[in-house]
Symmetry: D2
Subunit: 485 residues, 4 copies
């Protein structure tokens, strides 16, 4: 059973132990609770799309383990084209719900990265991580699972290493090594996709040295594993998604969570790194190259929806798209730069000997810097075109529209080239995308742009360029980096 | 009694008829209701500052009517320096509450513009509007009133004139002229400061021709006048301001409202324009020149708070301000451009023969284009420096922190170089300023940047520049604007 | 003989009829004249690199005609990887000389595009253009020729079609059809690489309709064909390249020319289109997709040299690269966006049935918009880091340094952390790259960004995005593009 | 005789000793030599404008010494309005010639700054510098002199102080103190306006401490003083201004020079600082506040000409201004921001007790950062609108147009909606303004933007903003700048 429908996927979630909270309230049925149903629905849609006549090729791929068709997020990308389809799927998903799904993304990428890194570790250390991972990979494919990826630790004081923190729980770590597994504890924060995931891939939040080896662990745990509590975070205007009415769009939502690992036991077959600090940086490096090459597709897909939202607002206001064509074209350009630079990273990449295709790191990190920049410009244009009622959602609430006293007046006041409700809904979408619950956190999500710039710095051949310039300038005298004085 | 304390001002609000709603609920006491108390508190602060030993000079000025010291928003700016103090006050106010106050701004400016335009109308038409306005101005000063300004109409289909709209109420208009006054009806929308205002100055939303003379009216009405209903709009994450806890800062808030004028009678002594369409454009022109020269101070003041928020977040994360100094300096530059260009408009302006000082329109509208641009850059930097928890406020709710089950874990997870609560509060402020209820709507608030660009186009001497360039290039042949082909 | 050395290539040029002019002076030996030697030298370098142990793989490829190794600019790119190597070669070339070579670029691309379009034409019209082109392609490969591409016409009044121009010569056109060939005349302007070319590929400057069929021609002519006169244009500070001394770098130069076709006869075997207007747009379309996907590599390569120039200047001034690291990283990011988006276009492209691989047009044109933008930012940073003497080359002339009276003083005045000559040379390079003869014309070269934006507009799925947004917003009412009123 | 005509001014220059060189050639008559005549002509124009019926008020002001009307550049600005007229004059001058004049700018500002600083020094040290300066000021006014200002030293290694340089001449310094005066030597570089100046005001290039007191000198010397040699620098395409024909516009030019002070004696009455290091920073501080508040007017004026150049090119190409209106409006906005922020600095400034009006330093330095930025954007737009022939001046030389062989063809090839010569001239102007001899060096001229940013950093109230943010966020815990770890 390599493919599940959306309904089968939901069923799998309903069987799990409730351990997700918001508002200090336990969410009993994650598939129907107002807080989480939107997120689950959007992941379910990707399951259903795997059977779509026209687009199934985007949502599925051939398994490298079984040769069968599986959900794309259960397979190993082996070529530049495979990675391009990862990007295509992300853009398609965003165009469906307008925002992030989470549970077909970072966990999957984490698992494929471990495919490569476990092979390297086994080679050096004679461990059997790769075999474990292969079995786990097979399990995931066979059960058509949705995976979340838990990378970001709570971190504590940024000027200190994990081992120097006042509270060791600031980073998830190995508390105890037992014969049959390990016990882990600590906090992973701002984790996307938990609500829609069957499983969580946990990897280190950074590349570490020997002193930090307790923090170098990679495991897979069921989302409902004993000892794990998940607390969903707030996001802008989150209550609207839980309210009745149209004050937020409801096709799909994004949720993020804080994970409290309170002495969670992980059996050996689910442990893929346990102290091999030398390879923690590899995990981060491969992960970032894949993830940041594809992430431009996410913001491009959301940008596509912003284009549509802006066109609708213009028309709802009685104005032609032509009035704003230059701005709309700029939005499209922004989207395509984010999308295209990622694709460029893929073309310039190469295949790891394990079979995993890894995009070019320099271009992938360059793309991240633009993912942290261009969508903001696109949002500003969305607000520019959409006008004042969209900019901050400056419209009375859905409840006020229901008022017997003045509701009719509000419908009339909002009416323009379309009816008052349609125009309000159009404005609410623009608001939601730019300052509402739809914003996915493109600046720091998946790592901060300053970190990406450091990688760009590390990978750029400064001295080669300086030498070229010297030669072209005809300089024969000495020009050197000054010593510290 | 030209000066009131904050408490006296609140008392004046409490005496008014309740006619303000949100959530289909009538707000009985506007000074204490969770929806409105923040807004009132921030206006009250400006009243109190009029007695401040150090800063009273910013919040007060000498009356041109009585020679006495009055609240600045009850006086006529007569010099570039006076207008600069308008800007200074705005920046100071934003630095106090982090956002807009509304009730010491557009209404005041509207009244001073009418001071000039009524004089011009009287000259041409022999009307006595200026005398009426003078009496009203005196009344405002004597009673130390807070004024909102209602300019923006609901507008309907933007490709049609007011008179062509399906629903005439799309714009506030004169429904009936009686001997003792006029009856007006229609919708003014997205009106700032209503909650904190004693009075509302209503002026036309555009400059109109003869066919639209019904829409050319200028009046002053008490906020609680019979026939007027005010509905407060939503804004991002608005419920947090009404909730208990720290998920939104609460020093001051901004509110905006839809005004439903349902046959409101205005007695003649409060009517300052009634059909003199030729002067409707003058009102808009003078208003925009004053307003858009000063508005840069608003966003500069909010930008100052963003600088502070970003510094606090950096430090809360354990990092020095120095790490981000280039970015912080860029934030300061953005603020000062918005502030400084407005001051430049003031220096380049001149005094109207009525005594009102009017900044240079070209520079004021140039400033508006930057007010719609630079604060967005400043917000992006705020998020860049502040990190992921601030970008989208990706932290569990206040309620979750109170959880007996896992609240302690959350405090620990958020702890870094400061305690968990302080870091959460610091992040919430950054969120509130950039994607939360603190965003004042700098793009379209006070008019859209595209409109400002049209004014820039109209006021720029294109042909003079083309002639200069021809002369410098030594061109003697003919180069002309092509005719339509 | 599929590969030539640089010297052999020069020899081939020396055998040609002199028909190139500058300063109203005929250039007798194009390989040694101060006006042209730099350009020829830089093309010769690419010939020599075809034998380079390390980098020959960049400068050569396997011929699709003979299976032999040929100069890359004599072969047909058949995969995304082939096109990526086109980009790599361009970046490599720029890093060698600091500027454009011209004669291994547009002519080559033109020939490969004709490979595809002639096949299409033959299919529809039963012509034998493809066979002719194949023979010509073979001739080029066998003789290892350098090709220039002539696309841009003089154009005349931009608001008129070619056939409507006062002077038909504004566009190159078919003057006469003879049995054995055609006679063409008119002006091609701003043509790059003529000086280094053996042959010129002439294609239409636009996609035309039936009324313009005289302008729809594609031919190959030797650069020294009878009836053709080439006039080299000025460029900023061009005289320095012709002067003695160091006031311009001299590794390689770019030249552009105006081509005067004064009744040039082209025999049938060199005619690949003659009136088939329907396919003129195809030529432009395929050409632009290939050219604009690769052009980012050109500006990236020049940007690499700017990075080097800036680092050298910083160090020459006594400052560490670290002082400017953020700015240098931004330069690298700009370069990689231009390079990477082009690669993305390649990955998203597909193979034409003729075998030619054509990148994705949308991404290629998006890249062009950034090629017209990011290098300017990179130049500004180069000037920012390099300081005042580089910004405008504000240093006395080479001649002044030779002055017996004050030459020694100048050396001393320029001395800093390196000797005066080295620092001057470093500054001259920065000047040359940013406001000197090294600037290649990235804005309009290869077509203007406004044209690229029109293609982006044409290829973006506006209505799909509007429909997505409507669905997500939950809009059921009608929102449509307004009709003209 | 407080006012001179342009001819009288030229006469005064002709009387001076020739000591200016270019191309290792002594310029005998600075008013007619092809290298310098353009610069002199543009300064002469400002003299003539002092008698202009319409605009004399811009070019003249009332003397604070005599109460008579004098050239503005011979008077002391005492109010914000006076400084605004400084800005107006600069913008007017740029609109006349398209570029910088130099000799009515920095020297004048230097003299007015010394007016203030000498008063302060006298107060502390009991010196009589102010009296000397007053006499010198009177002399300047009486003789209607043009002044250059020499500030920038050759500097040498930027990581070392002046006294640490290998060559002490890297900075102009006091070599010897005699009873009747001082002997100075060293290099001032990139000095603007020397060619058009009667006198040179020499001030320190930085604010120094006691160890550098030899470098703390302020003097006035005639341009032709014994021991001084001036070498004019190259600038982009400089030879064109010295050639016959239209390849460069010739209304006015800018020149810069290296000044070699080879033991120049300055009598005491022309010495205004000699070792009072404590006040060297004051000179720089006041100078920068005045200069950088006004410099925006320079780039605005040049930007005005760019607007005209772009409009002319569009029309010459057959296109309407309307096609490019958004871009043109953006150019205007850029100009006005540079102009307006400077005016804002003036309004926010205050009068020094000596009478000199000094703009606000923070806003002035903010403006400098934009002077180093916005004109580049304006240039890019100029090139964008103007098309390929303007971008790099890709047109054959004037000489080629005179060719009997093909000159006529070139005229025809360039013809569009205007004749070939006019279109060529229009393109040459756009080239000259953006990458030619007309570029004034707005990045580093008058000091580098990084220096301005350091001032912005120093003058911004970071801790105040952090405290505001803490208060608004409701933070009571401790958040502090981390200590070095």
């Amino acid at each position: 059973m390599a493919l599940k429908t959306g309904e089968q996927y939901k069923e799998s979630l309903r069987k799990m132990r409730p351990n997700v909270y918001k508002w200090d309230r336990l969410i009993e049925d994650i598939t129907t609770d107002p807080v989480t149903r939107g997120h689950v629905a959007s992941v379910a849609h990707s399951y259903d799309m795997s059977f779509d006549e026209k687009d199934a090729y985007i949502y599925t791929a051939k398994s490298h383990l079984t040769g069968e068709i599986a959900h794309r997020w259960n397979t190993l990308p082996q070529t530049a084209e495979d990675q391009m389809h990862n990007a295509r799927m992300k853009r398609h998903q965003y165009r469906h719900s307008g925002t992030c799904k989470g549970a077909t993304c970072a966990g999957w990428t984490g698992m494929t990265v471990l495919w490569a890194v476990t092979q390297e570790m086994d080679k050096e250390y004679g461990t059997n991580y790769h075999e474990r991972l292969k079995n786990y990979f097979k399990y995931v494919e066979d059960n058509a699972l949705a995976l979340a990826g838990a990378i970001t630790d709570a971190k504590g004081d940024r000027s200190l290493k994990p081992s120097q923190q006042k509270n060791k729980d600031s980073h998830v770590h190995i508390k105890e090594v037992r014969e049959d597994g390990i016990v882990i504890r600590g906090y992973k924060t701002q984790i996307c996709g938990i609500v829609g995931a069957n499983e969580i891939i946990v990897v280190p939040g950074g590349g570490y040295g020997e002193s930090e080896k307790d923090f170098c662990l990679a495991v897979a745990v069921p989302r409902d594993v004993e000892g794990l509590t998940c607390v969903i975070t707030r996001k802008p205007s989150d209550t609207r998604e839980e309210e009745e009415g149209w004050d937020a769009p409801k096709v799909g939502t994004i949720t993020q969570a804080y994970l409290i690992f309170d002495d969670v036991f992980v059996p050996n077959e689910r442990v893929f790194m346990a102290g091999e600090y030398k390879y923690s940086g590899k995990i981060i490096g491969y992960f970032a190259a894949i993830y940041r090459a594809a992430i431009g597709a996410c913001v491009a897909g959301q940008g596509d929806v912003m284009i549509g939202a802006a066109i609708n607002m213009a028309r709802a206001n009685g104005l032609s798209q032509k009035v704003f064509q230059d701005k709309l074209t700029q939005m499209a350009i922004n989207n395509e730069i984010n999308y295209g630079t990622g694709l460029g990273a893929m073309l310039a990449g190469k295949q790891h000997e394990s079979g995993l295709y890894i995009p070019d790191a320099l271009l992938a990190h360059v793309n991240k810097t633009q993912v942290a920049k261009l969508p903001y410009e696109t949002k500003v244009i969305t607000q520019d075109i959409s006008g004042g009622i969209a900019e901050t959602g400056c419209i009375p609430s859905y409840k006020d529209f229901q008022s017997e006293l003045y509701g009719e007046h509000l419908y009339k006041a909002l009416e323009a080239a379309t009816d008052g409700e349609s125009r309000t809904r159009a404005a609410r979408l623009a608001e939601w995308l730019t300052v509402g619950a739809g914003i996915p956190g493109c600046m720091h999500g998946g790592g901060s742009p300053d970190g990406a710039k450091m990688v760009v710095k590390a990978l750029t051949k400064w001295e080669d360029y300086a030498a070229d310039a010297k030669r072209i300038a005809g300089i024969t005298g000495e020009i050197v980096e000054p010593k510290k004085k």
